[in-house]
Symmetry: C2
Subunit: 394 residues, 2 copies
């Protein structure tokens, strides 16, 4: 097949790393720390079943009809109210319901990016975010992450030197893969930069409700006085991902343009999923679920940290995340994560190599991402004991 | 807001016509022939409710979890079998499940189109198809439609003159808005051209099962020996649209690339919708539904033709479609459809102006699209009697 026949974006779209590790997720014979998916055992299925039946009785046939492109009014009402709880005051016209927050990223990239435009991202950062940006042939500018999140000083230096960016994409709370959180001081600093250098901040918040110790820091959107923040929300990690419902909150004019983009992309999000989440929100089921999952995942986080301390050599390092699903572990000098993965799979343990998350492919060589979300406590212990041995014998 | 800040595709994405007529659909005080949506009164809601409860019992928590990007295996199995009934032999790797077939169009445009590439479309043709192509800044080449569908002779002439196209997008059965069907002779001719001039044919089939008189003609895909046809399917018009589940069937390598594109776009389609349709297919509910809707919509088509004959002036013309949802009506010379619409809305009847569907905006001035799908028989009669009066008094 002549690949010249396809759009030039193709060479930027393919991610062999991602496809490879996705294929590891479903295998029963492997303890996999690879996926970043929630543990389905905690989904409130009994409540969902009751709610679906109730909805079919109330809404009848319309539950299976098209809904409008911008999204169901009652779901937007719930979100307006939900955002109030985060000190964010918006109206329904500032919200667009999307097919998962991955679609939010795709639509933003579609709206903003010409080939060659620059986008700043966390380094390491979310693979799917980088994938969406790559699909529109933008130039990716990776900004290092440390214990306090994105290194705003590095970003500032680049901007001062004359770099122009369309937007910065980041996950400020319990980021994927680093697990790190952007400090409050840096949040304020970042907003100032966005104003001074005229770029948007795309604040992606999938793990925000998965705060295991303290309340999350104020959202960038809540302390933004200049309409520079576009906020992406997802129900996937703290409620359920199967319905593919997410949302974007931003300046009204941008939401209007994104709605047009969505119309050409998939017409509308699925109706039953929107109604179900709206009702679950109104009836307090989502809030109940958030209360339940925090201690549930915290236990797993604690177990993973115990295992790392117990089984991994001392020269490995990590910082305990305050929430989310991931540990970002630095390997002993000289061990390359890709080689380690091959050895680990032979011993029936899997993880994701650090490379996948870094703008410069080689930068992540010495790191691995371990997710604790979808394993039992004993699997976490067993998997880490095996992986510790593999590292020690490497 | 500085519009130069956005991607250059923005100026191609906006479609005021479409937004305007979408806003007419929901109004209760208007008899609207504008929408092309199915009549929800015919959805098999009782069966769907039973099936959802059964599925939750069988599948449990996994029904609310992410599914893989390519789609649920059992839905693909159903489709392989369904396609066999159309003399199309494919395997599961040749199918990608999409978020409605609109996403199929978006992904194909994403995969194939660089700005300036040429795509041939029906003129008049489906607005959403044109929208998807416009979003990737391709050049649209409208090819006239007559009583036997797309004018293959015009396409051939352009190709002979040296036009190069990446693909042709068309709805060969009961097209939107023309209602016309591509003749068998033209189908064979088109496949020959695709081979000789090396382009793909995107065969979109939303109305194919809505054949009210005779069996539909062989699908282009079923008589294609050279892997030139990419087939788009949708459950929206003959089963239900609310879950946003569609599918693409094409050469394995292309399906693989489209799957990568989908991963960056929305990760996966919703799980419950996929499972529900797969089970409904396996248990014969979809087939039952198809049997039920044919006479149901045919009645409406007949009513609309009666009304047109009875109330419209003789100088209006149309050809009765053999299936689908639409009449494409030529107005008396000198009446512009946009002016007529204003007058019609004052009298509480709506339709879509012909312009919206034509590559050259002015070409559709003299036409209107009337949909009979979502009105009762008496609404069809009443609406057409009003519209007839408006035209007569124009």
């Amino acid at each position: 097949m002549d690949r010249g026949f396809f759009a030039s974006r193709l060479k930027r779209m393919e991610n062999k790393e991602l496809s490879e590790f996705m294929s590891l997720i479903g295998r029963d014979d492997i303890i996999s720390f690879a996926g970043g998916i929630p543990d389905e055992k905690i989904f409130p299925v009994k409540e969902l079943k009751q709610l679906i039946n109730k909805l079919i009785n109330i809404k009848g046939h319309s539950l299976f009809q098209y809904s409008s492109t911008d999204g169901k009014k009652n779901l937007k009402e719930y979100l307006v109210n939900y955002l109030k709880g985060q000190e964010i005051t918006v109206n329904e016209n500032q919200i667009l319901i999307t097919t998962g927050s991955q679609q939010g990223l795709d639509l933003l990239a579609k709206l903003f990016l010409n080939p060659g435009d620059t986008v700043a991202v966390e380094d390491p950062g979310y693979v799917g975010g980088i994938g969406a940006i790559n699909s529109y042939e933008a130039r990716i500018m990776g900004i290092e992450v440390d214990e306090n999140g994105l290194r705003i000083d590095i970003l500032e230096k680049l901007l001062k030197e004359g770099e122009k960016i369309k937007f910065l994409y980041l996950v400020p709370d319990y980021s994927n893969p680093s697990g790190m959180t952007l400090s409050l001081k840096r949040r304020y600093k970042l907003l100032k930069l966005a104003n001074r250098y005229n770029f948007y901040i795309i604040e992606d918040t999938p793990y925000r409700e998965l705060s295991f110790y303290n309340k999350p820091l104020p959202a960038l959107k809540s302390i933004d006085n200049n309409e520079k923040v576009i906020y992406l929300g997802s129900f996937s990690k703290y409620f359920m991902p199967g319905f593919r419902i997410g949302w974007i909150c931003g300046p009204e004019k941008i939401i209007e343009l994104l709605t047009t983009a969505k119309q050409n992309t998939d017409l509308a999000s699925n109706t039953l999923g929107q109604e179900l989440i709206a009702y679950a929100g109104q009836e307090g089921i989502i809030q109940e679920q958030i209360k339940k999952i925090r201690p549930y995942y915290r236990q797993k986080l604690v177990k993973m940290e115990e295992g790392l301390t117990k089984y991994f050599p001392e020269c490995c390092s990590w910082k305990r995340p305050e929430g989310g699903f991931f540990f970002w572990v630095k390997l002993p000098t000289g061990i390359k994560s890709k080689k380690l993965l091959k050895q680990a799979i032979k011993n029936r343990v899997a993880f994701v190599t650090g490379n996948s998350f870094c703008s410069d492919y080689r930068r992540g060589d010495n790191y691995i991402r371990l997710s604790f979300s979808n394993n039992t406590l004993s699997e976490i212990d067993k998997g880490l004991s095996i992986l510790g041995k593999v590292i020690n014998n490497f």
